[in-house]
């Protein structure tokens, strides 16, 4: 069993090494190698997941990685219910996306390089999930950041792509600095970073203040990685990378690392209500904020990026409020339907030769029927319509928020749900329904349905985003997924748990979803009130939303530019060159100046030398007189 667990990680590593080292020779087989590596990894993960479902937990140590004086950091892997869910999500979804990218990246010159990075990414993500200590999680954390840097900047000759990659890495590093501080505190207080040594002793070791500090520090890391409010700017630019990358990294796996981390350290968060409050409110604000921006955006990938932001906000609400199982459940369902949405968008882009703006698209239903159906399914799921996956997980979060005594967050959640439903169906109606906006554009581009290798994974994800939610149904008195995850991340016991009837909550959120779809239907299909009329009635708000609250410009002019200016003109040109270097050269200058002074004494006239001698004699005898006689 121990080697099987290790194998899960080793397979992607082997795939990475094969493609990496022998990239030239495995020119067009790289995709197959990478996909099969993932497949094997998934298969070798099935048995351990099954065992975990049956109730036992595996925690193996392989070797001591870093001996830190008295205590040492082991390299070990751990599978419990929480990481089992994540394991299933990561391995399965990445496997699908690997198959999909075989088709998507067919003609690309960097074909082998793409799959090398993808495999390295999955390896680091698995390390992050299966690592048995915070430090190993951090290794995965940074590894994942590195791979997202490489993959976003995959088409490195495009300036925007490499800039976006660099921006992603730097913003992640800000988060990582916070994560490191959290890990330092934990290591200092618990004298170890492995989960087994930390979580059982939380109550004896930590005081609420230190728990808050650790919680907030770790959450800073989560904000960086899962693009929460202040540090989300990199996610929208990350769309520069290939679409399967966006779907894998920026929808299903990497961005959810923060949620997993908060769920994993639930013991610490339970100790500090303030940290929980911060997580929940940041999550709620990001959800609402991102949803507003998605309302007006034209570019399909950007819409999906903002919707990811807002869904992540939901997950943080779930985890922040204390209903950890709901957060993780939503994470799982979100991976399915958001992955599908991105793949669908990829298929559309693939056939439209990279055109992204919704103005050019319309009535694609006729040309790409399968993608259309799948996108509708995914949109229904994300909008939270009953039988689909999104409904159960989102409803669980909102119910949790309400029961745990956060009514405002519940309201914000419902409003965002409405907006989500609206913008998703705005996207679906404008792209797939209605008529062609640009006459016979499709003809020139001879738009056609995506090839088999791309549609199959999409269908699989489509099915999953339907049945994925059923795990959250009430079966024999308790929700299976809740019981399963609660083994490692028990829901927070709150004193006054307000009891609202399940049915009412479910019904309410379903109606909100339907309302959202209806308004989109009214505006975009029936055109009773055209989108343009709304736009110019709320002119100022519309422009504000259109260019995303001018956040990027703000960051650029008020943080990046002055930063560079200060370090260039002040720190370098003045402080370093003038003051410090000048100080050193000053010594040289002073000695030169003194040398010059003495030179003036050498006038050439012998008599002047005689004068100096006599002055010397006088001084000497004078001193002799004063002191000795």
């Amino acid at each position: 069993m121990k080697t099987l667990v290790l194998l899960i990680i080793i397979w992607p590593l082997i795939g990475f090494l094969i493609n990496g080292l022998f990239g030239k020779w495995t020119k067009n087989y790289a995709g197959i190698i990478a996909a099969s590596a993932l497949g094997l990894s998934f298969l070798s993960a099935v048995y351990p997941i099954w065992q975990v479902i049956l109730g036992n937990i595996y925690d193996y140590v392989y070797f001591t990685w870093m001996p830190l004086g008295k205590f040492s950091v082991p390299f070990g892997l751990r599978i419990d219910s929480l990481s089992a869910v994540m394991l299933f999500v990561v391995t399965f979804v990445s496997w699908m996306i690997h198959i999909y990218s075989n088709g998507y990246m067919k003609g690309d010159p960097g074909y082998a390089r793409y799959f090398t990075y993808l495999n390295l990414f999955v390896f680091s993500m698995l390390l992050l999930i299966l690592g048995d200590s915070y430090l190993l999680m951090f290794v995965g954390w940074e590894g994942v950041g590195l791979c997202s840097y490489l993959l976003i900047g995959f088409w490195y000759d495009k300036k925007t792509a490499s800039d976006a990659g660099e921006k992603a890495f730097v913003v992640n590093r800000i988060g990582d600095a916070g994560f490191i501080i959290g890990v330092l505190f934990i290591l200092f207080n618990f004298h170890s970073v492995t989960y087994a040594d930390v979580f059982p002793f939380v109550h004896q070791v930590l005081t609420p203040e230190t728990a808050t500090i650790i919680g907030l520090a770790l959450f800073l890391g989560a904000m960086g990685k899962s693009a929460q409010f202040p540090l989300y700017i990199w996610l929208t630019d990350a769309m520069e990378g290939p679409t399967p990358v966006s779907s894998l990294i920026h929808a299903a796996t990497m961005v959810t690392a923060g949620v997993y981390m908060v769920a994993r350290s639930n013991a610490i968060y339970d100790m500090s209500p303030i940290a929980m409050e911060v997580v929940a409110s940041v999550g709620a604000f990001t959800a609402f904020y991102a949803a507003t921006m998605a309302l007006t955006h034209k570019d399909i990938k950007r819409i999906l990026a903002y919707s990811t932001l807002s869904q992540l906000g939901y997950m943080f609400i779930g985890v922040g409020v204390g209903v950890y199982w709901a957060g993780i459940f939503h994470l799982m369902t979100h991976a399915f339907f958001k992955g599908l949405l991105f793949l669908g968008a990829g298929a559309v882009m693939h056939s439209m030769r990279g055109l992204l703006s919704t103005d050019l698209m319309g009535g694609l239903k006729k040309k790409m029927p399968q993608t259309a159906i799948l996108m509708v399914i995914a949109s229904l799921a994300i909008a939270g319509i009953p039988p689909f996956a999104g409904f159960f997980s989102k409803d669980a979060i909102l119910a949790g928020a309400l029961e745990m005594g956060h009514p405002i967050i519940w309201i914000v959640g419902e409003v965002t749900a409405f907006m989500t439903a609206f913008y998703m169906f705005r996207f679906v109606f404008t792209v797939f329904y209605g008529e062609e906006k640009v006459p016979n554009l499709y003809h020139e581009l001879h738009v056609h349905e995506a090839p088999k290798v791309m549609t199959i994974p999409m269908w699989v994800l489509g099915v999953l985003s339907i049945i994925g939610g059923w795990v959250g149904l009430h079966v024999s008195g308790e929700i299976p997924i809740e019981a399963f995850i609660a083994r490692t991340a028990p829901t927070l016991e709150v004193a006054n748990e307000a009891h609202y009837s399940e049915a009412f909550l479910m019904g309410f959120s379903a109606c909100v979803g339907l309302l959202g779809i209806f308004t989109a239907w009214v505006i975009y299909i029936k055109k009773w009130i055209t989108a343009e009329s709304i736009a110019n009635t709320f002119k100022p708000i519309y422009t504000l939303l259109a260019n995303t609250y001018y956040v990027d410009e703000f960051v650029y002019f008020f943080i990046v530019k002055p930063f560079w200016w200060v370090s260039e003109f002040f720190l370098w040109k003045i402080v370093d060159v003038k003051i410090i270097d000048g100080g050193v050269d000053l010594f040289g200058w002073i000695s030169k100046r003194i040398g010059w002074l003495f030179r003036t004494l050498q006038t050439g006239f012998v008599s002047h030398y005689a004068y100096w001698i006599s002055i010397g004699v006088m001084l000497l005898t004078g001193w002799y007189l004063v002191r000795i006689i």
Binding site: W65, M66, L68, V139, S162, I180, D576
Partner: protein
């Protein structure tokens, strides 16, 4: 005690000198012969230094492979060599980097190759001497000796205004070491006044510290000399000049090894011998190294010249090392030693990379590069690996050093560690912006098209560096296990702060430990 009963340290130190003699016999026109002989001698030196690692007994903190021969016994000077956990890896780093640096100059240095190789060999002796000598006077001799070859190397084979750079380098370091000489003498005589024994022997001086009030000026003098060498923040301005003008091999050795002498000096002299002063100065030096970290990073961000950028990054990296050292915790000091070794490898490698490109393109400013990834893929992969190692991405060696330093500092001074944690962020900023502008984007500059990728020779001297980057990153235990005993002993020595040996004879220690706990309570 000398396990091998064979003067291994002397052979390591003086083998290059013999090599230099050998090279001087060869006719200067036969350049390939000269290069081969030098390379073989340096390689031999590395092989001879390997037993140090294998026979090293990591359980005791005593000096090992000791060679003690009375030199001027009337003054108490003896030819005393030996290494312990701290200096073992610095010796290995020197013998490891020098053959690589020499190999990189085969096509780089064309005029006066014979003199260059001789100078390189002498430099090797000087450096090794510093790390192994346990007699302060011998230490000082080697300390001064290693300046001269470096001076020549920058002065003769350097860039355009090399004379200014080498003059500044030499005088600046010399200015520091003059203070050290005075402090050395003062230490010698004060030691006699209290312990009635004239000795230059470092180990005895370490074990018999002076009373606190005397240590103040000694500490400052030594600290100044080593701070200039490290270089710590205010004394760093010679480094960019020296690096920009030095030839590739010169830069590699300067960054890889010479800078470590400063930190090594702190570990050997300031911490053990002037323990009570160390405790007073902890806060100041921590602040200075913090400034060094951030200042180095900020200024590196805006450098147009790659070598200057990497030079300022060295200031930042060594700021970490000093931070870890003056946290005065076992992990902090081990982290700082690891950081020294990592910096040696990653910055040495970065300079080699710049050297390779400089040899082909003869320009160092970033704006003229761009799009190397499509032209020279293998080069870009190696460049990427070393950039990651210098940003301290986990899995590479940089992370181990940085994390240990951060944790070490955290144990004693929480606030400093928290601030330092954000230092890594700026490291990523400057390295990645440089990396993006050099490797990614489209190759616009027509001259870039004639770039050729790695030839066999470059492969040979790049691969070992990559091996070490990942070896330390994934399994640092091989290195750390050797250090524990010596570092713990050093920490014990820094604890002896209350020493009042009365003048007339018998010395009375009372080891009551007063460590001024500074910094925020956890």
């Amino acid at each position: 005690m000398n396990q091998l009963h064979f003067p291994i340290l002397s052979t390591i130190v003086f083998l290059p000198v013999i090599g230099a003699l050998l090279v001087s016999l060869i006719d200067s026109k036969k350049e390939t012969a000269i290069r081969w002989v030098t390379f073989i001698v340096l390689l031999l030196d590395f092989l001879v230094s390997l037993p140090l690692f294998f026979y090293f007994n990591s359980s005791t903190y005593q000096m090992q492979f000791v060679e003690k021969v009375p030199w001027i016994s009337s003054l108490g000077m003896n030819y005393y060599l030996g290494i312990d956990g701290i200096s073992l890896f610095l010796v290995l780093l020197t013998t490891f980097l020098s053959p690589i640096a020499q190999l990189s100059t085969w096509s780089g240095i064309t005029q006066k190759t014979k003199e260059f190789n001789i100078v390189l060999l002498l430099l090797q002796t000087g450096m090794l001497g510093v790390f192994v000598s346990l007699d302060i006077f011998l230490f000082y001799i080697f300390w001064e000796f290693q300046l001269i070859p470096m001076y020549l190397m920058i002065g003769i084979w350097g860039g355009p205004n090399r004379v200014f750079a080498t003059m500044k380098f030499f005088l600046y370091t010399f200015f520091g070491s003059v203070f050290m000489l005075v402090a050395l003498m003062a230490l010698y005589f004060l030691h006699h006044a209290y312990y009635h024994e004239y000795t230059f022997n470092m180990v005895t001086l370490m074990s018999q510290p002076l009373p606190a009030n005397l240590q103040f000026w000694l500490f400052i003098a030594f600290a100044l000399a080593f701070a200039i060498k490290v270089p710590m923040w205010p004394f760093h301005t010679w480094l960019p000049w020296a690096h920009v003008e030095a030839p590739t091999a010169g830069s590699v050795i300067l960054a890889g090894i010479l800078l470590k002498m400063g930190t090594y000096g702190f570990l050997r002299f300031n911490l053990p011998m002037f323990a009570s002063m160390t405790h007073q100065f902890v806060d100041i030096i921590l602040i200075i190294s913090l400034i060094g970290i951030f200042y180095g990073a900020f200024v590196a961000m805006v450098q147009p010249d790659i070598k200057k950028l990497v030079a300022y990054s060295s200031v930042s990296h060594l700021g970490y090392s000093m931070l870890g050292m003056f946290a005065l915790t076992t992990i902090g000091i081990e982290g700082s030693i690891m950081q020294m070794i990592n910096h040696g490898i990653s910055t040495g490698a970065l300079f080699l990379i710049v050297g390779i490109v400089y040899e082909r393109m003869h320009t160092r400013n970033i704006s003229e590069y761009g799009g190397l990834a499509s032209l020279v893929p293998i080069f870009s992969v190696f460049f990427m690996i070393f950039t990651l190692s210098s940003i301290a991405v986990p899995g590479t060696n940089g992370f181990i050093g940085e994390f240990m330093v951060l944790f070490g500092t955290f144990e004693s001074h929480k606030v400093f560690a928290i601030i330092a944690a954000f230092g890594g962020l700026f490291a990523a900023v400057y390295m990645l912006t440089m990396f993006k502008r050099v490797v990614f984007l489209k190759p616009l500059n027509p001259k870039l098209l004639k770039l050729t990728d790695f030839n066999l020779r470059e492969w040979i001297y790049m691969v070992p560096l990559v091996v070490f980057v990942f070896w330390i990153g994934i399994y640092p235990n091989t290195f750390l296990s050797k250090m524990h005993a010596s570092v713990n002993h050093l920490i014990e020595q820094t604890k002896i702060t209350n020493v009042n040996p009365n003048l007339n004879g018998k010395v009375s220690f009372d080891n009551k430990v007063i460590i001024k706990k500074s910094g925020l309570k956890g």
